[in-house]
Structure formats: C-alpha cells, structure tokens
C-alpha cells in the first residue's frame, strides 16, 4: 500500500506542475493585467504609473522568464508575492484556508450523510409516496442554482424570521471566546454549509437510490435473503455497502467541485474563505495570488482523489492496490 501511495504522490506532483504551467498561460490569455486594473481603480493612468506597476509586478520581463521564476518558486514551496495585497501569497491563502475547509468539509459531511440517508430510504421504499417525495425534494435542490438558494435562505431565515445571520464568519465586534465563539461561528456556518451541502446532497441521494436499486436485484442479495437474514441487515451490510462505490467515486470528484461551488457561496454569505479570494484575484488579475489558489485547489483535489482510492479499499475489500 505504501508503494501505491508513493507512486500516486509522485504522479500527483507531476500533474500539479503541469497544472501550474497550463494555468500560468491560461490566465494571461484574459485581456487586462494587474497594472491596468490598479491604474483603473486609481482613476489615473499615465505612462510612468503603468510602467512602474508592471515593473513592480515583474510583468515587464519576457513570458518564459516569468514562468521560470514562478515555477522555481513553486518547486521551492514559495507561492510568490501578491503585490496588490502587499503580502506573500502563502500567507493570504493560509489566512483563508481554515474558513474554506470548515465550510466545505461541513457541507461535504452534510451532503454525504443526508444524501446516503435519503437515498437509502428512497430505495428501500421505492415506488412509494416517500420515494417520490424524496426524489422530488432532491431534484428541486439539484435544479436550483446555489446563489438562488442562498438568497432565498437569507430572505427567509435572516430577513423574515431573523434566526440566522446573513453574512460573515462571526459576529464582528462581539469579541467572543471559547464555546460562545464556537457557537457563534456555528450559527454563521449553518446557512452557507446547508446551501452548499444541499446541492451535493441531491446528487448523492439520487446516486445512492439508483445504485441500491441496481444492487438489490443481484443474486447475492437473493442468497442473503434465502439465508434468512433480516431486511435491515441485508440493506445495510449487503446492499448499501456495495451500492456505495459509485457514491464514493462521485464524492471524490466532487471534492474539487466543492471548492468551486464555495466561490459562489462564500461571495453571497461574505464567508472569508479562499473561494472568494480566488474570485477577487480573478477580477483583479492578481496573477500570483490566483495561481497560488489554483495550486492549492489542485493539490486538494489530488489529495481527495488519493483518499477516495484508499476509501474504495475500505468499502470494498475486493479492490486491491495495483503497484
């Protein structure tokens, strides 16, 4: 297993470098550069000003040289400096990463737990009113854009009922500590995490349901039933466990998408995570910061994929690690 992990890590690093190079050129294809954006915001733009900014950002150097400098930095674990924000990229991402991880992992947990639970029920009671209810419920959340769910959530739970805060990570100025602080953050987390989680929950519900219905028809389930096992045991041990494989695959793929989805959720709820950092960096053409966020996101996807592969093995002992 160790050699499997080592192999995957080496491959991951190569993929990561390829992503860096590709992204480096990709973001430079968009018109406008950080100097232009900053000159625009300053409401003043003379040649000296723009030239100064380009020199400061290193944009006056030839493109291959810029790439070399950047890749050299990344290899040495240095993600560069955001001249716009006057801070090292690693520091900026480091400040925001915990908030994003908190949001995405909570959303992920909510979506998986609810998705599998609802999917199992729908499959168990396939064709009944409960099944239709769950399927429609899932479909609604799958079909609604995240920003819409977010805004409706705010209207309902913040404006109309005043139960939950509409924005932010914590109550600004409250200076809470310990448990009170944790509860405050949790209260702020509910809406963004549910918004993000419900969308993915919908897919897991449908995937679990479909997969379970498929497995249910297989011979070994009949055998289990013939053995006289109770329905609950058959569902849990035989059907669900086998039906989970595609769900795990999907969850692995989603781990990356979750961060993408977090861009919208973080923007609407003013959640100070890297999704928003990425969004701002993109609009401001903050190249180093944007590349830095891409590197971290790609690394997270690679790590999640590795975890998915390991989880496969836990879920299904028949799968072996090829070395």
């Amino acid at each position: 297993m160790l050699s499997f992990v080592a192999q995957r890590v080496v491959k991951g690093v190569i993929v990561l470098l390829a992503i860096v190079v590709l992204n480096f050129f990709l973001i430079r294809l968009a018109p406008g550069d950080p100097a232009m954006v900053m000159a625009g915001e300053a409401g003043a733009s003379d040649q000296v000003f723009v030239k100064q900014l380009r020199e400061k950002f290193g944009l006056d150097k030839p493109l291959p040289e810029q790439l070399f400098i950047y890749v050299k930095g990344v290899v040495g674990l240095d993600l560069g400096f955001s001249f716009r924000q006057q801070a090292p990229v690693a520091k900026l991402i480091g400040e925001r990463l915990p908030a994003t991880l908190l949001l995405t992992l909570t959303a992920f947990a909510i979506s998986l737990a609810l998705g599998i639970l609802f999917g199992t029920f729908a499959a168990r009671f396939a064709g009944t009113f409960l099944d239709t209810g769950i399927t429609v419920f899932a479909l609604i959340f799958y079909a609604m854009p995240i920003f819409w769910v977010a805004l409706m959530g705010i209207l309902l739970f913040s404006v109309a009922f005043d139960w939950l805060p509409s924005f932010g990570y914590e109550t600004v100025g409250a200076n809470l500590t310990g448990l009170a602080h944790a509860l405050d953050v949790a209260k702020h987390l509910i809406m963004p995490a549910m918004t993000l989680g419900l969308f993915f929950m919908a897919t897991y519900t449908r995937m679990t349901r479909a997969s379970m219905l498929e497995v249910k028809r297989l011979d070994f389930v009949k055998t289990a039933r013939a053995k006289g096992l109770s329905d609950a045991v058959i569902q849990r041990r035989h059907v669900l466990r086998n039906a989970l494989l595609p769900v795990v695959t999907l969850a692995g793929v989603h781990s990356g998408t979750l961060i993408g989805g977090a861009v919208i959720t973080e923007t609407v709820f003013a959640w100070p995570g890297i999704g928003r950092l990425m969004y701002d960096a993109l609009l401001q053409r903050d190249y180093n910061l944007l590349l830095g966020v891409f590197v971290i996101c790609s690394a997270m996807v690679l790590i999640f994929n590795l975890i998915t592969d390991l989880v496969y093995r836990l879920v299904d002992p028949r799968i072996e690690f090829a070395s």
Binding site: A30, P31, G32, D33, M36, V37, M38, A39, G40, E41, A42, G43, A44, S45, D46, Q47, V48, F49, V50, K56, F83, R84, Q85, Q86, A87, L92, E95, R96, A99, L151, I154, L155, S158, V159, D162, P165, S166, F167, G168, Y169, E170, V172, G173, T267, V268, F269, A270, W271, P272, G273, R276, L277, Y279, D280, L283, Q284, R285
Partner: protein, 516 residues
Amino acid sequence: MPKRVLLGLLLACGLAAPALAQEPKTGGTINAVIQPEPPGLMLALVQNGPTQMVSGNIFEGLLRYSPKLEPQPELAESWSISEDAKTYTFKLRKGVTWHDGKPFTAADVLFSIEMLKKTHARARTNLAQVDKIEAPDDYTVVFTLKQPFGPFLGIFEVGSMPMVPKHLYEGTDWKTNPYNNAPVGTGPFMFKEWQKGSFIRLVKNPNYYEKGKPYIDEIYWQIIPDAAARSVAYETGKVDVLPGGSVENFDVPRLSKLKDTCVTGAGWEFFSPLAWLWLNNRQGPLADKRVRQAIMYAIDRDFAKDVIWNGLGKVATGPSASTIKYYTDDVKKYPFDPAKAKALLKEAGYKGEKIRLLPLAYGETWQRWGEAVKQNLQDVGMNIETIATDVAGGNQKIADWDYDIAFTYLYQYGDPALGVGRNYISSNIAKGQMFNNVEGYTNPEIDKLFADGAVATPDSKRKEIYEKAQKILVEDVPVAWMLELQFPTITRCKVKNLITTAIGVNDGFKDAWLDK
C-alpha cells in the same frame, strides 16, 4: 419685509433651533460597508475608492473642502498667496502628532510630496507646475510655482495629497514597508485590526488635535462582496452606513423607505463624477461629427436618471459637471429627439455599419444602463453589438482603442484644469493608457484653451476661456455626456453629521456622532 417672508424666516429659525441646540453625543460604534475590499490602506501607494474611504479616517491632507469647494483648514491652519499668484505659504497646525506619538512637522510635508511624486499619478500631474517647495521652519511650507496655476488650492485634500510619516518611511522600501499594513497617520481614527475578507476596525485617536473629536469610539468597515447581501445586512440592522455605490440602484427606493433611514446624494461635490460614453472618433461612422451628435439626440438621458438612477443626479450638459468651477449651461442643447437623430444619421450617410458598445462591468445598474442605451440607439436605426467584458478586460479594450462606444464615469476634482482638460487635449492621446483622450479627439483650439486656462489670471479670464472650451466641445461631441452622478449614501438617521465636506464619506468620520 413682507409678512410671508418674515413668517418663513421665523419658521426656519424655529425649526433650526432644536437642530442647533443638539449637542453631539460621544461614544458608540459605526458599522459601515466597504466594497470592494481595499487592496491596501496606505493611501500614498494605493489610490482606489475603497482605500480612500477607509484611510480618509487615518490620514489627513493639508486642507479639506466645503461642499461649495471652498478650502478649509485641516493640517494647515492658514495659507496665503503672493501678489503674483506664484507663491503659496501654508502655516501648519501645531501640536499635531502621528498615531505613534511623534510630532507632525513641515519635514513630513516635504517628504510626503517627494514620495507622492513617485507613487501617486494624480499628485504627480497636480504638482507639475511646482518649481520648489521649502520649509523655512517646522510649521511653515512654501510652494513656489513656475507660473500661476489657477486650481492650485484645490489639490490638497487627503486623497490627492495624503501626509505620510517621514520617520517611518524615509530610507525604507516603500512598497514593502510593514506600516503599509498597519498605517500610521494623523487622522481622527487609528488602524486597529484587519481580518482579511471580514472587516477592518478603526478606533478613536485619543490624542486627536481637535479636542473632543472624534465623537465615535470605533468604526467597523464590513466586507460583504455581494450587493444583495449588503442590502440585507442593512435591512437586518447589521450595518448602519451604506456609502454611495454600495447597493444596486434598484434597491435604493426600498431601503430608503425603511424605518429611521436617511438618504443623501451629498458628498460628491469635489469628485463630481460625470458619466459619459467614449466615442471612438478615429474610425468608422463615429468619425463623423453628425453621427456623434445623433447619438446625443438618440439617448433618453432623463429616463436613465429617473429610472436607472432613481431620480438622483442631473442630466449633463457638457464636459463640465455643474458642481465644478466655470461651468456654463449656455451651450448647444441635445434634448431627446429620435427624429432629429435619424435625420442626422441619414445626412451622414450611415448605412447600418456595426457599432460595438462596451458597457461598464460595475454591476446591475450599469448593465441595465447599457441595455437602455443600446435600445435607444437601435430605435434610431443604429446597428449595435454589445461586448461583454469584466472590468480588467474592458479597461484594456478602451486603453487599446478597441471599441466604438464605451461607458465610463470620471471624477472632475473641482476644476477643469484638474479633471476635464485631460480627456480632450491631443497631447493626452497615448495608446495603452486609460482616462486620457482615449476617444482620439484632436482640436488645436481646444488644446490652446486648456493650456491657457490652467495658468490664466485673474479668475474672470479663466472663466471666459473655459466657457469657450465648453461651447466648442459640446458642438463637436467628442464623447457623449450622460449624467452627473450622485451615489446615494444610506444611513440610519441616528448617524449624524456623517457628510460635512465635498468628499463626504471619503473624508473620515471625525464630525460624525450617534444620537442614541
């Protein structure tokens, strides 16, 4: 005195009396929205809107300006001008200290100006007429100009010329100076904390030179990236101040009807943002003056003001906003007249060539305005194609002259020599740059008028020159002027005296207080 007038006066005095009697109360916190999150707070290095809005509390300039643009003391307590209008002497306020306790002196002024010349594009232009700056003593600064420069007294507000602490910046690499992230100024509020992506916290400067001020204990600038979420934050009572431009225009009528909510369009007199359409004079149908005039007649600007801008602002009559010096409305008028527009297009021989329209990527309001203008122009038979970009892409296209019609709005800074001439003089045509003469208009007479206007004396002579320039420009339509914008500031009515100068919320909250 007629009775009615007397009654009016009495009523006015009676009504004014309680307001005058209302003593400012001290204490409390103001929660305001800042959008977008500023890239930095060091005003001498970063000059965008949000930076000034926050840092206007931390830093100060030598002067402030009243809503009528009259200079008022700030770090300079008085000033005098020599007979030949070439020497300006400023007497600095004594007893002013930086937030770290060091005294503020003339040496700081000299250092700030040297730094700004290198880091602040607008300051560099504003100071071009300065021959030398001297500090005969710690509290006197003397500017000697190469020639008289009419708008000189108008370049000293905090955003145009912020004072920088010499003792913290001299001999350092300004770009990486640690104080950029924890700025030290002389202003009424001190920087305390910045949680990136969440909020910026400023606290009262207890040693502020104006005794008793500021009244407020602290300000939280909340960072909320989504416009709808900012509206909700106000609605649910989480923020008390929405500075101009924080929410989409269509939310303004709804929010202004909320209980205890006050709305004002004041505080933009110095900037006088004027919205117009860049018209690429170089090529295609728009090279013909008649087509440009047709555009002016074709666009329903009253509709834009009343519907898109909720009645705030004013339809522009020409290159100068009515709030800045030497404005005249004695110019050719362009009322909404589609028939006349069609006739002019026909006369110019326009045959439906495609015209690219670049809206401004500043959110829904501008998007809608772009759609309205497109419809107006299509109604008179123009073939309009909208090009969608983000802000960076749009800036690049305009700077590279890769457009036909493009939305913009620019500040005018109180004087035509500072904020108007730059867009029409031919020496300001430079590809790759924004906000200069990107439309490519060339007229030697206009070049001469703006060159003369900046240095002419006395004032009446400047007036004559600029009025003439306005007349010529309005006839030629180098760009299509739309509206004098007013960005409504929405506050809880308990926030008093928030806007007292010509730059409004950008000037710091030193006079503001909470009527709890």
